[in-house]
Structures are given as C-alpha cells and as structure tokens.
C-alpha cells in the first residue's frame, strides 16, 4: 500500500481513489484502520470515494452504543468525513438487501449502488484500496 500512496502523491495531478471497506466495525480492527487511512489520506486532496460492501456497511449502522463493551464507538466519526472532503459514500445494494438494511439505517447520507454500477466505477478509478 505504501507504493500505492507514493504513486498517489506523484505528479500533483488529482487521482481517482476508491476505498473499499468490507468488514464489520468491532470484531476486527480493519474498519477503524480504514477510516483512519481515509482521514489521513484526505490531506493529499485527491478525488476520493468510499464503498461500503458486505459487512462493511454495518460500520454505518445508526444507534451504536459501545458503553457495555468498553470499546470506543467510532461511528460518529463517519459524520466528520464530509469536512475532510470525503463526500462520496456508496453502499452496495446487494449487501444491504442481504442484511435486511435500508438507507434509513445509516448515520450518514449514502448513495446506494448496485454491484453493476460499482463495476464501472471501479474500472474508472486510478487506485482502489481494500480493507
């Protein structure tokens, strides 16, 4: 990934960058790590979008309360993404339907995209980073 980051900063032209996140928020550290990379990466001012597929969309579930588990609830941080100019947030429709979720379940405004739509978006990217 370091290579991809180097590549991203080269030349000064704006690159299209997709962060693909597919893991649930608390069972592993991937989701939080992805969010931190996105926030740090925002300083490079690229054309960024984020895709929440599979269990990744559970990161955005409203009403998370981690008090009893003693973990940090980082779901409010997704609402700060807009201020970091990360405004394009996509949820894969197939993943959402499989989990019985709807757009109203998310703490941020997202655009729901079918996997077909995501296929062509991915083809259009300079870099796709996976978490």
């Amino acid at each position: 990934m370091a290579d991809e980051m180097d590549e991203m900063m080269e030349g000064g032209e704006i690159k299209k960058l997709m962060y693909m996140t597919r893991t649930a928020p608390y069972g592993t550290v991937y989701a939080l790590e992805a969010l931190e990379v996105v926030l740090i990466g925002a300083a490079f001012e690229q054309d960024v979008c984020m895709v929440f597929a599979d269990d990744g969309l559970f990161q955005l579930k409203k009403g998370q309360n981690t008090e009893a588990t003693g973990m940090k609830n980082f779901s409010p941080t997704y609402r700060a993404l807009e201020m970091y100019d990360v405004e394009k947030l996509y949820v894969e429709k197939e993943s959402m339907d499989a989990r019985g979720m709807t757009e109203d379940d998310f703490i941020v405004d997202v655009e729901v995209k079918t996997s077909d739509e995501l296929t062509s978006m991915m083809e259009d990217m300079d870099i796709v980073l996976n978490f």
């Binding site: 926030l39 740090i40 925002a42 609830n73 409010p76 609402r79 970091y84």
Partner: protein
C-alpha cells in the same frame, strides 16, 4: 509513564504530553500544560480549546489542522478561521497544541 503535576495531583500523559485519560481533563490541567509551553491562556485560546472539546464530543475525533481552520471559520467567523490567527495563538501548531490543552489525542491526519 510520564505525568504532569497539577494542584498536587499527578496526571498521566503520553511521551508527547497528551492526556492519557480524556475524562481527567479540567481547566487547571489545560492551564498547566500551557504554562509548561510558556503560554498564557487567554479568552481567545479558551474559545478554540472549548471548540475542540465540543468537536470531539460530536465526532469522536481530533480534527486535522485544515479541518479545524475551516470549522472555526464557520462557527466563530472568518477573522478567526485562518491559519495566521490560529498559529499566533498556538505557535506549535493549532491542532496539535490546542488539542493537547483540550485533553484530546493527537489529531488524526497530523503526521
């Protein structure tokens, strides 16, 4: 572990002087941290510190300097939402230094 002494009590901080436990924070601790940096806190400093604490409560994150500047501008006006004003208040870097006094972790996106 590093500590700073405030009103006779040892408060745990990390190697860069950031508070280990955000819940321990009070204004005296902020003032003591500032004193260690030879900085006297004025109302203008407090305005930014309090802003950061509210920001953290809402988003669970310490903002990067660019985001802080923009957000301050929105809330407190253009004359305060610029680097010059904020760097004059917090010469070590507005996000880093102000976050420290506010008892927050080092900002995400701050290398």
């Amino acid at each position: 572990m590093a500590t700073i002494n405030v009103a006779g009590k040892d408060i745990a901080v990390d190697e860069e002087g950031y508070l280990e436990d955000r819940n321990e924070w009070n204004e005296e601790i902020a003032a003591e941290m500032a004193k260690l940096d030879d900085c006297e806190l004025t109302d203008s400093h407090w305005e930014v510190i309090n802003f950061l604490r509210e920001y953290y409560d809402e988003y669970q994150i310490a903002p990067a300097v660019r985001v802080l500047t923009k957000a301050i501008g929105k809330k407190l006006g253009k004359d305060k939402g610029n680097s010059k004003y904020l760097y004059e208040l917090f010469p070590y870097g507005p996000a880093k230094q102000a976050c420290k006094y506010a008892g927050l972790p080092k900002p995400t996106g701050c290398v």
